[in-house]
Symmetry: C2
């Protein structure tokens, strides 16, 4: 039994549970509807704080095991106080984390044991956009580059395939490279 | 002199410095080229950790005043250990923080004193996409809703205008609602 349990755990991924989850969603596609949420409060200047706790998924309201809180700000060179990373840096973190989680799951499902996954994500932005100084310049990143180092007990081409598959199934990669409709509502009292 | 200094500070935004920065970028548009970066390391399963410290901007390599570290993971219902928010929740945080920072800057520039800015951001996602179970379902958010509460010493329409202008100048709003090219490189040794 111990051998079976160990075989089920690969890269820290419980592949047995992963496949059970896949089967459960196949049987009841509605279970795959999730809603994630963040509450944000302005502190001062460019500094704000988000709390992440509740979400909806697999048919019911849920909570993370604890409440997560994150500050964001601008550095002094962008007229802030550097109380947290800039919002655009959190986007790079989200992309790296999403592709890495997918990569570990895919490797586990394919029977590949990973020994190391590192990535550096960089995003180029021209602030003439958000400063409103050049209408030809977009507000967001002009391009993003992700550099992965992946090591494990598989040939190089199989390790590269993990990144390709993770890219093709990454939620954050899709959000960044495609368009998501955003609705904004405002209350003033 | 004190009155002048106080007048320059509004909503925690040093508007004098803000306008000096705008003028500096107008005079030397190249100063507006920034590159932000995140280093991520896989920990185990769907758990990874990002470090945010160095960036390039205003003509030179820079660092945040300290190094910021963030964990991301999946909750148990998504076969993780809940060691951090999911990557897609960080995207919601980034959007709220970006629009809120912009809103405070724009209000300061327009002479409006804010007393409260709160937002709740929610994103709907159907995991049939990332699980590869339905090719018709996208991997990322199908839609995102931002609900702002904005209070300050201006009429409701002027407060609403702040959100509209922040939306039109937000880097993260642009990243999410438009397409950003992403290049991925892989090293396996």
């Amino acid at each position: 039994m111990t051998a079976t349990v160990n075989e089920s755990m690969r890269n820290g991924v419980d592949t047995a549970t992963l496949f059970v989850t896949l089967d459960a969603v196949k049987a009841a596609p509605q279970a795959a509807k999730f809603q994630f949420r963040t509450d944000n409060q302005w502190i001062d200047g460019t500094h704000s704080r988000s709390t992440i706790h509740e979400f909806y998924g697999a048919g019911e309201e849920r909570t993370h095991e604890r409440s997560f809180t994150f500050d964001a700000d601008h550095p002094a060179v962008l007229v802030g106080r550097d109380s947290g990373p800039t919002p655009v840096e959190f986007v790079l973190h989200a992309l790296a984390a999403c592709m890495t989680a997918g990569l570990a799951n895919i490797a586990a499902a394919r029977g590949i044991r990973l020994t190391e996954v590192r990535s550096t994500v960089s995003g180029d932005i021209d602030l003439n956009g958000i400063l409103g100084l050049d209408p030809e310049v977009r507000n967001g990143y002009q391009n993003i580059t992700v550099r992965f180092t992946v090591k494990g007990d598989a040939p190089a081409d199989k390790l590269r395939d993990l990144v390709t598959q993770s890219q093709s199934r990454s939620a954050v990669y899709d959000i960044i490279t495609n368009q998501v409709p955003v609705t904004i509502e405002v209350t003033t009292d």
